[in-house]
Amino acid sequence: MTFDHHAATFRVASSALALAGQAPERPSDQAADPAQRGTEFRAVEGGAEVMSGETLLVEAYAALWIILFAFIFVSWRRQSRIDARVGELERLVAQGQGK
């Protein structure tokens, strides 16, 4: 490459930057100037969803069945206690009849 070619490339790049109005700043300059720091975060419009609807749906259905099965389990426990008390009552009745 010749010197003229490099000079032409530099001129084109400078023109493009001037047109865009975005003269590049060195990172050290940004850090030194508090007025230049970021003050807000903005989401990309039309970007990917933040919270998965599928996950929430599965969580909701899992919760539904866990709650229902917990209710059935508590009923079963209560029935077991009643069965145990019936057994004890039968033993007492048999004991009373034996005397």
Partner: protein, 239 residues
């Protein structure tokens, strides 16, 4: 209390009801996930609606049963009425917890937060807490007539909040959507079959839960009475 085992026909009706409930839920899940369209703005998370709203309806049914059983018990106190009221409160708590869990999961997507102190959300949580209080009272306060009467009063007063939940969204606005019923824009026609089947399935489930818990409570009360009678007949020093 009269001693009677449930007739076979009653058992048969229960088993048919139970079978119908299982079939209704299987069909409902199939319909929701394979034949009902995804909502335009919320996406797939809107399908929580098909269980959230019927669960709220199930909570109303349980609370209504608690109210009826409580009123009946206050007029004339056979234990079966008290058992029905207690079963209603337990059913209301079960469905209420489902409502309070599934609602915030939907809201996380639709509103960007799990909970707001919206009138309908607040009154729904208050109602669930009333029935939790009823169940806790019945669990720890004993089975005397005075305790049952106090619980019956709570069951009657607790039902006063139900219409407030229903009309809160109309009277005080808030963020909670109104889709079905007065003030609502309705569902897409293809969404109605799943919604109505869900309502049917949850109605059957509420009846099954009410039935089983009432029978269980009647059996427990009857057993307690038999224990007391048996102990009274036992000779001194008997175990």
């Amino acid at each position: 209390m009269r001693s009677s085992s449930p007739p076979k026909t009653r058992d048969a009706v229960f088993y048919v009801l139970f079978g119908l409930t299982v079939v209704a839920f299987l069909l409902d899940i199939h319909l929701i996930f394979f034949h009902t369209p995804i909502e335009l703005s919320m996406g797939i998370v809107q399908k929580i609606f098909y269980f959230h709203v019927p669960a709220a309806y199930g909570m109303y049914l349980g609370a209504g049963a608690c109210f009826l059983g409580s009123v009946a018990y206050l007029f004339s106190p056979p234990d079966a009425r008290d058992a029905f009221a207690k079963a209603g409160a337990e059913t209301a708590v079960t469905f209420g917890i489902i409502v309070l869990v599934t609602g915030p999961l939907w809201a996380a997507k639709a509103w960007g937060r799990y909970w707001t102190w919206d009138p309908r959300l607040t009154t729904s949580m208050l109602s669930v807490l009333i029935y939790v209080a009823y169940v806790v009272l019945r669990s720890f306060a004993g089975d005397g007539h005075a305790e049952k009467k106090f619980a019956a009063a709570l069951g009657v007063v607790g039902a006063a909040n139900l219409p407030i939940i229903h009309y809160s969204v109309l009277k005080w606005s808030g963020q909670h959507p109104v889709v079905v019923g007065k003030g609502g824009g309705g569902l897409a026609p293809a969404m109605y079959p799943a919604f109505f089947l869900s309502l049917g399935a949850f109605t059957l489930l509420a009846i099954v839960l009410l039935w089983t818990r009432t029978r269980l409570e009647i059996a427990r009360a009857r057993l307690q009475q038999l224990e007391e009678e048996t102990l009274a007949l036992m000779p001194e020093g008997g175990t």
